[in-house]
């Protein structure tokens, strides 16, 4: 089913989403990948605040290519979410509601999704040029020294994603593949 939603993605909104839904997302989302997650995790360990308001936030696992002059961002497709599995449950428990990436998630992440009424979206991997057209604004929030791995705030318009793990814990990667598996 096709749906249009606007960030912040609250638990009222995630409740309406089911694995397999094709969603066009608009609004403000954050970008963080491996190195930024490590730093945020270390900051939490020291009892410090996170660099942005985590409640009802959406984090896009992505590291863009450099923007050409006059453009908000370069190529901007998803990176493999599996590598963030170590950090995601703690952030979900603090109120993060949505993740955008690609690839399988661990049992711990699925449990945290259900526990917190969150959602895991996949964007199409390797479609970075196409996806960049849905990003209207990009600014660095912190960790600028990490280059492409800095934390960014994005404004997106009708950014296409697919619900892979919904708030009930259903996983499209498992169900859809079974439908076409012949061996």
């Amino acid at each position: 089913m096709e749906k249009y939603i606007t960030a912040p993605v609250t638990s009222e909104k995630t409740k309406e989403l089911q694995a397999g839904d094709y969603v066009y997302l608009s609004g403000t989302i954050y970008v963080a990948r491996d190195a930024a997650h490590k730093r945020m995790s270390e900051a939490l360990g020291r009892g410090e605040e996170l660099p942005f308001d985590i409640r009802d936030s959406t984090i896009y696992y992505m590291g863009p290519s450099p923007a050409r002059e006059g453009r908000p961002i370069g190529s901007a497709g998803p990176t493999t979410a599996t590598r963030m599995d170590k950090y995601a449950p703690a952030l979900l428990d603090l109120g993060q509601k949505a993740m955008i990436g690609k690839g399988k998630r661990s049992r711990d992440v699925k449990d945290a999704i259900v526990r917190n009424g969150a959602v895991y979206f996949a964007a199409v991997g390797g479609a970075g040029a196409l996806l960049s057209k849905c990003i209207v604004k990009s600014e660095i929030v912190c960790y600028e020294d990490l280059g492409t791995e800095a934390v960014r705030r994005l404004e997106v318009r009708d950014f296409p994603v697919i619900v892979v793990i919904d708030s009930g814990g259903r996983d499209l990667y498992e169900t859809a593949v079974r439908e076409y598996c012949l061996i």
Binding site: P64, K102, V124, A129, L172, A176, V177
Partner: protein, 281 residues
């Protein structure tokens, strides 16, 4: 007849090839993707393949890299033995080309200088260079920037001779099944069979740089390539890993003699952005 070559021409070629491979996918790959979109059984799968074709069009027309992971630069450098090289060291020339290409081409800098300390080198160097000395007086550069979503899902299996061809098939299917959505399917699967531990990995990498519409010159390997492609596409992983009949676009196998006690198999997985380009200097 000895030919004198200044290594600056290697740097210049590498720079251009870094940029070209990241904005324009080769025709063999484009053709394979168009064909797969026609044959895909899943509706969502067809939609994703359509987006990937649109993505290629946008990349070339608007000069946005096909994928934000513009890769670690992998280069096969064949140098004719009748060449005398002058100027900066060959490896320095290659890295000079990578540095300039990734800077001027607005490509992502994805390389960390030490695998444990992990500070970004900020210019995407160093490249991974595989050299070979060949007859003649030409230089052949194969450029294949490699993204790590799929690289991370690649595997080496040190099989026993008794495992035979069935063991090879199992190894490939296991690697692809485990890779699933993480490797950005539809994939291209490079397989190396034989040699030693490191040789089979290089064979697999080189297999990815072979055009996907060219089959092996050996009939039994050609048959294995075709059979494995069919099997992989029965796994159901599909475009984006969201179910379907297009899990891979090609299985390319390269082989080499091996030891009486071994059957090494390397499976180097690449996503649909299988960038490769060859230039002769």
């Amino acid at each position: 007849m000895i030919r004198n070559v200044n290594t600056q021409i290697i740097a210049d070629a590498v720079k251009e090839m870094c940029i070209d491979t990241n904005y324009y996918l080769s025709e063999d790959m484009r053709e394979a993707m168009r064909k797969s979109a026609d044959g895909e059984k899943s509706e969502l799968g067809r939609k994703i393949l359509g987006q990937l074709l649109d993505n290629l069009k946008i990349a070339g027309e608007e000069m946005i890299p096909i994928c934000q992971d513009t890769g670690m630069a992998v280069i096969f450098l064949e140098i004719g033995q009748d060449i005398h090289l002058e100027g900066m060291a060959v490896e320095e020339a290659v890295n000079e080309g990578v540095r300039a290409g990734y800077r001027d081409g607005y490509l992502r800098k994805s390389v960390v200088g030490d695998p444990l300390l992990r500070d970004n080198t900020k210019d995407n160097t160093p490249a991974v260079v595989h050299y070979s000395i060949v007859p003649g007086n030409k230089i052949t550069i194969t450029m294949a920037p490699k993204g790590f979503g799929s690289e991370n899902m690649s595997r080496i299996f040190m099989l026993k001779p008794a495992d035979g061809v069935d063991g090879v098939k199992d190894a490939v299917l296991t690697a692809v099944r485990d890779a699933g959505p993480n490797a950005c399917p539809p994939m291209v699967i490079g397989v190396g069979i034989g040699g030693t531990f490191e040789k089979c990995a290089i064979l697999a990498k080189k297999a990815l740089a072979r055009p996907v519409n060219e089959r092996s010159e050996f009939s039994h390997i050609r048959q294995l390539e075709e059979e494995l492609l069919e099997s992989v596409n029965r796994l159901g992983i599909g475009p984006g890993g969201l179910g379907g009949t297009t899990t891979a676009l090609a299985v390319n196998i390269n082989t080499y003699p091996t030891h009486i006690a071994g059957l090494p198999v390397a499976v180097n997985i690449c996503c649909h952005v299988n960038r490769h380009m060859i230039r002769e200097l």
